[in-house]
């Protein structure tokens, strides 16, 4: 390679420099935003920003095919999958700021800055007087162009890794099936008739279904327990999840009105488990 060509290759065109100085900081900002955003969805969106910038940077770096793949597959498919899962998990699942290991963030930060300084210094030192060849050769972006040349490489030199990726993809598909698929048509599910018979045979706690909430009460809320004919609370109707608030409050109100303790009489259907304070 001649000396003049080398001199040309050492720097990049002004247009590329402008693109870099616009997109590079954006990518960095996206990365930083991702690790600092409390909300996971925000993190994901920041990462999308970084990936889009990188895609554009690939394109200006003579890698148009990769740039498009980055935008379509990475940003378009993979990150959307992330967002999809985040939505499934619950959008508002933000991180706690409590440190489990004391000083972990500080040390991680120090470590990170150290690593960054090391790598950046290493690269800057090692490449300051390196010949940049550029992708102009027949085997690179010349001849049939970027995409065809990549294809040729994949099906010759990189044939084996390429075929090996099929094993990866099959594994991924099988894995997703294993962890996600429930066979709904399992044998051994009881029919309604069998269920009724089982109930009356005593295989369940009680033959009838649990009393619904709010049946004899003033509200239809789950928080409002059912009342038995004698006016006492049916304990089975109390929701296990939210009993602490509503049912006890109701109990207090009832006591305040009646001025007595609720004592279920002989007609009470429920076994005499007291629901009281």
């Amino acid at each position: 390679m001649s000396a003049t060509l080398l001199a040309v290759q050492q720097t990049v065109s002004t247009g590329e420099a402008i693109t870099f100085w616009v997109l590079g900081p954006l990518a960095l900002a996206g990365g930083l935003g991702m690790i600092f955003a409390r909300n996971a969805v925000h993190s994901a969106l920041f990462l999308v920003l970084t990936m889009l910038s990188l895609g554009a940077l690939y394109m200006v770096q003579q890698a148009p095919f990769l740039g498009f793949v980055q935008i379509i597959v990475y940003t378009g498919a993979i990150m959307m999958l992330f967002l999809f899962v985040l939505m499934l998990v619950g959008r508002d699942s933000s991180d706690s700021v409590v440190e489990v290991l004391r000083g972990q963030r500080l040390w991680a930060g120090v470590l990170g800055v150290g690593l960054a300084v090391l790598i950046v210094a290493a690269i800057a030192r090692s490449l300051n007087e390196v010949t940049i060849m550029g992708l102009t050769g027949e085997q690179a972006n010349g001849g049939d162009g970027n995409v065809a040349n990549i294809g040729r490489l994949i099906f010759t030199d990189y044939l084996f890794p390429f075929e090996l990726t099929s094993a990866l993809l099959i594994t991924a598909a099988v894995g997703a099936m294993i962890l996600g698929y429930v066979d709904r048509h399992q044998k051994g599910r009881k029919t309604q008739k069998e269920l009724v018979e089982a109930r009356f045979r005593g295989e369940h706690d009680r033959p009838s279904p649990l009393p619904g909430p709010g049946v004899f009460a003033t509200a239809n809320s789950v928080a409002t327990p059912a009342l038995l004919p004698d006016g006492s609370v049916a304990p089975e109707s109390l929701s296990r999840l939210i009993e602490a608030t509503a049912s006890q409050k109701l109990e207090r109100d009832r006591k305040a009105v009646a001025g007595t303790l609720p004592e279920p009489d002989a007609r009470a259907l429920a076994p005499g488990k007291e629901d009281g304070s």
């Binding site: 990365g31 690939y58 990475y74 899962v85 699942s93 790598i119 085997q139 294993i178």
Partner: protein, 99 residues
């Protein structure tokens, strides 16, 4: 400006990703940080392909994307399965296995 700047950018992105893995507690965010690290690697590969005048760097970046895609599927499936049980994706709450 020389293409070396791309390498510096990717080094910074890689470090940000690594720090993110260490500081974030949400398993999905941790995983996204790992994705960021892979992206940084891709930028390095593409830049070196240009510096070396050799297309195989781009091919490798392509392979990395394929691998990342497979990894995302498996990873998210595993994280989902634990999330559905625990109702949390925080790696701190996964503490049944104690030292």
């Amino acid at each position: 400006m020389t293409p070396t700047y791309y390498l510096l950018l990717s080094a910074l992105l890689f470090t940000i990703g690594a720090v993110g893995v260490l500081v974030r507690r949400n398993a999905i965010v941790v995983f996204m940080c790992i994705e960021l690290m892979l992206n940084a690697v891709n930028l390095t590969l593409v830049t070196f392909a240009r510096i070396n005048g050799d297309l195989s760097g781009q091919v490798m970046a392509f392979f990395v994307m394929v691998v990342a895609a497979a990894e995302v599927v498996v990873g998210l499936a595993i994280i989902m399965s634990i999330f559905r049980t625990r109702r949390t994706a925080s790696v701190d709450d996964s503490n049944l296995l104690k030292y």
